[in-house]
Symmetry: C2
Subunit: 557 residues, 2 copies
């Protein structure tokens, strides 16, 4: 057994927030039997990934080793943990395990891609375990901002590993499994070989607050509102949806859910049996005659997403409903870094309508779903792991979390994506570095982040584009004039003449002076045209555009 | 006099943060003599303005009325107040007034564009005033995060207007003019017709803190550091630079300023006479042999700008200096919304090097330069204006600021860019809406935000690009095969064949079936080619690219 390894290999989520995918394995070196925990996505933006639809981990290593992979375990139904299961499952083709709510969402994703939803097997939580050769794996219920979130308990011949998943310590989570120290202590009883632990909130210095703490505040706010109330939060935070809806009903308001994700999540809650007393809601078309002071909308789009319900309401009407002066809009959510501008756009549009906006800056109407610094310390103390491997966080989070463990003399390792650790010894040991990266869903094609496709699009966005057509006749002579079109460039440059005309002149000049050897060589023509185009463009408009040259050679018929 | 108007017209800065430009005028309707307060820029981003170099207000209205414009007053040297003076002065050609430090920076900007620096006239501050017909205008010193910031006192036959500029109430600003209530009260003595007031921090609930409060904390931090210390802040915050440098010297460290803006700002401080005892600094090449624990760098790039010193240090070496484990990096700055991702990139790169990063989350190492909510209330109480017009802020800030004034029964108006108010009566009155917008510096050309140039570039970035060349011979028949090139699109689609090949086939098919009438009409060919390209692309890669068609017609020679 001493030559066997217990490996940990993050393919996504370690060194970033989002796109979680963690490989565990046990066995002889490079023969380990493997499981995968989570297969999530991250979201593209105009800044680095314009036109991309979704970002997934590059699981090339796992595909190469899929004969060793026994199963995928999904900890919870957030997109950054389950989002890639539909698109990437086909490349792995192993059973997927999840608890009921998560399974419901995972199955929808598989079905959307034409796969059998029965691929996802629903299992009970700890102490029930799935036996997979040397490994025995079970879900440990943890509170988080979505129903039925789970840590993963992995028993191996080298000891017990606990992967926390995303979690918080919440004794009163409104919906689902509360934090029960006794359960954590029981899990820890045999001794924890390694704790693989959520790091996202390691910089939050105060203990996390309970989901139950926002209810009374939201109730007060809604009860005191005089116009229509609109509240937005993450659709997957079903406990919050219930709190919001309850506050509406208690204030004598009819409640409407707006946005597809809202209905999907509540539907999943009902179907999976965890949501039994969600307040009754109405359809938008059924509330036309209800006075606005008796209405409460719960809507998607807390992050300022342009197509979500909140953005559409901010722009005007959505499903027949519009906001007006005196209404109240509540962000029962935090703004994820990078989304500030989009959220600000909505707040300002609402301000222009005279709508009062309340956000989470007071700390009253939103709580995080992740363990803060003191909560992490509490977990370290409860679990007494032999080693601590921080996961889910940017490099700075992983680093700070290792330092936090160090204060308790727990050995740790910063292991960003692609770092293979062997946890079998007394300390984590780096045994390999695996190539990782990002796979993009671009339209309906999967491409690699480094394929150059998106880089080319960004260059077009920064520099603009010039297309030049050159025709060479049967005798290897230029025929007619070159033709240039520009796109994404100022029409006229400093001479106040059309830039396209200036480029055509320069290209024709160059072609006229070109030697026969150049004209007979497409690459040489391209190079010459590109140079002439760059020169004119820099001079006229101060930009060096992307140039495409189309050389057509006429052949004798 | 009763038919004369006292107008206020923001062209930039009202309804946004950045790009300040405010017109004031007095006289008969549409004959008012005008002054402009500030002419700033705002910064482009990949999200909405890829490839743009700078964003300025569209001052078309002012250009149309420049025969009525008498002067430009610049309140302070931040880019969002002075940044467009070099690029737009030529369109206005009137004297520019500023205090010495601001004038120093404004002159550099004019010189860069080939204008005479003497255009900028240095004037003393209040009670000195410049007489311009019916108007009498003076600078009122206010504390801010840059030396010699000023409000503007505008005396008119209809009463005194005070435009605060960006300001805070700081009795101990380290450098420059402290807040002296007596001066504000003296300005207010004749009665304030209208207070036009900074609104950026209206949502900050606690009183603003003094610049002097960060000194002792920074000193403690630097003194306790064991490796090299690197600190970043806005270069224009010369008081902070002095505090940082002093903390370095006091800890026995040699101080190096890195980044062009640092040297420019300190240089302007020295040249304008406001900086008399800035600690001695060394050049990067002079510190090679100094142990790192005796070094302190003060560097540009607090907002994560890719080319600034901090980003370059995070990527590796800069001017021969590199960071390593045990060094300390201090962000003595806040992250402006929208810059979180860029700043995060630097922090994570530093984390990978083992550098300890300290930011402003503790509240110890940075203070804002703007008046917070209680400070604004204090100003309302001191100035007792007849009306309050909030400026410099997004719509939500302007709205909240009007509400704040309302609590003191001060009538106010939300006047976003383009709203012309007449302040001559007892209440502000909207008298006109003027077309405003944004002008882009794109390469070396000024273009309008709505010209479509940037929209085209964003479309290229989102959708990719296809160029198709079609040649029609002398007999109006298609000759040879159409040729397609793609850029920013996946090379192969779902058939695993080259997308460009598939497009060529589809286009050639369509051309082969086309009627003679289509072939004789360039627009009809274009439309047909575009449709065929879209169809193939949607089918193969799920995207609808931007299509450029180059139709060449051969002519009989």
């Amino acid at each position: 057994m001493s030559s066997n390894r217990l490996i940990y290999l993050p393919l996504g989520g370690a060194g970033e927030i989002g796109m979680n995918a963690y490989v565990y394995g046990y066995g002889r070196a490079n023969k380990e039997r493997l499981i995968l925990v989570d297969l999530g996505v991250t979201f593209p933006d105009m800044d680095g990934t314009p036109g991309v639809d979704l970002i997934m981990p590059d699981i090339g290593w796992l595909i190469d080793n899929r004969d060793r992979l026994d199963a995928i375990f999904i900890t919870h139904a957030h997109e950054d943990h389950v989002g890639a299961i539909g698109l990437l499952w086909n490349k792995l083709q192993v059973p997927v395990y999840a608890r009921p709510f998560t399974a419901n969402i995972a199955r929808r994703k598989l079905e959307e891609q034409g796969h059998d939803p029965a691929i996802v097997q629903v299992i009970d939580s700890y102490p029930d375990m799935v036996e997979l050769g040397d490994l025995s794996v079970g879900f440990m219920p943890v509170p988080h901002s979505i129903p039925e979130a789970s840590g993963v308990v992995i028993d191996t011949p080298a000891g017990r590993v606990v992967h926390t998943g995303d979690f918080k310590l919440d004794a009163t989570p409104v919906l689902g499994d509360p934090f029960v120290p006794e359960m954590w202590e029981e899990v820890a009883k045999p001794g924890i070989k390694a704790l693989i632990c959520d790091s996202t909130n390691v910089f939050s210095p105060l203990p996390g607050r309970s989901e139950a703490s926002v209810g009374p505040e939201i109730q007060k706010l809604v009860a005191s509102a005089s116009g229509m109330v609109v509240a937005t939060t993450f659709a997957s935070n079903v406990a919050r949806l219930q709190t919001l809806a309850r506050a509406g009903i208690d204030a004598g308001r009819s409640v409407v859910l707006l946005g597809r994700a809202m209905k999907r999540m509540v539907g999943a809650g009902v179907e999976s049996g965890i949501l039994t007393d969600f307040p009754q809601t109405l359809q938008p078309e059924d509330v036309r005659d209800i006075p606005r002071e008796n209405l409460m909308l719960i809507v998607t789009g807390s992050q300022g997403e342009r197509r979500a319900a909140s953005a559409q309401l901010a722009r005007g009407k959505y499903r027949g409903i519009s906001l007006k002066e005196g209404d109240l809009f509540l962000f029962s959510s935090k703004t994820i870094p990078g989304n500030e501008v989009g959220v600000g756009r909505i707040v300002n549009a609402l301000s222009e309508m005279g709508v009062d906006v309340v956000d989470d800056s007071s700390g009253l109407y939103h709580v995080s779903g992740h363990a803060n610094r003191p909560d992490l310390e509490q977990v370290h103390a409860m679990m007494k792991p032999q080693m601590l491997i921080p996961m889910h966080g940017e490099h700075r989070h992983l680093r700070a979390h290792v330092q936090l463990g160090g204060m308790r003399d727990i050995p740790g390792a910063i292991a960003p994506n692609g770092t293979m650790l062997d946890l079998a010894g007394r300390q984590p040991r780096v045994v390999d570095h695996v190539e990782t990266g990002r796979t993009y869903l671009d339209g309906n094609v999967l491409i690699g982040a480094l394929d150059g496709v998106v880089r080319d699009r960004m260059r077009l966005a920064l520099n603009g584009s010039v297309m030049v057509s050159v025709i060479i006749d049967e005798d290897d002579e230029v025929t007619g004039d070159a033709w240039a079109e520009t796109k994404g460039l100022p029409e006229k440059g400093k001479h106040k003449r059309l830039l396209a005309d200036e480029i055509e002149e320069a290209v024709n000049d160059a072609l006229g002076r070109a030697k026969r050897k150049v004209i007979s060589d497409d690459d040489a023509i391209e190079e010459m045209v590109r140079r002439a185009t760059h020169q004119v463009s820099m001079d006229q408009v101060g930009k060096k555009p992307e140039v495409t040259v189309l050389v057509s050679r006429l052949v004798a018929e």
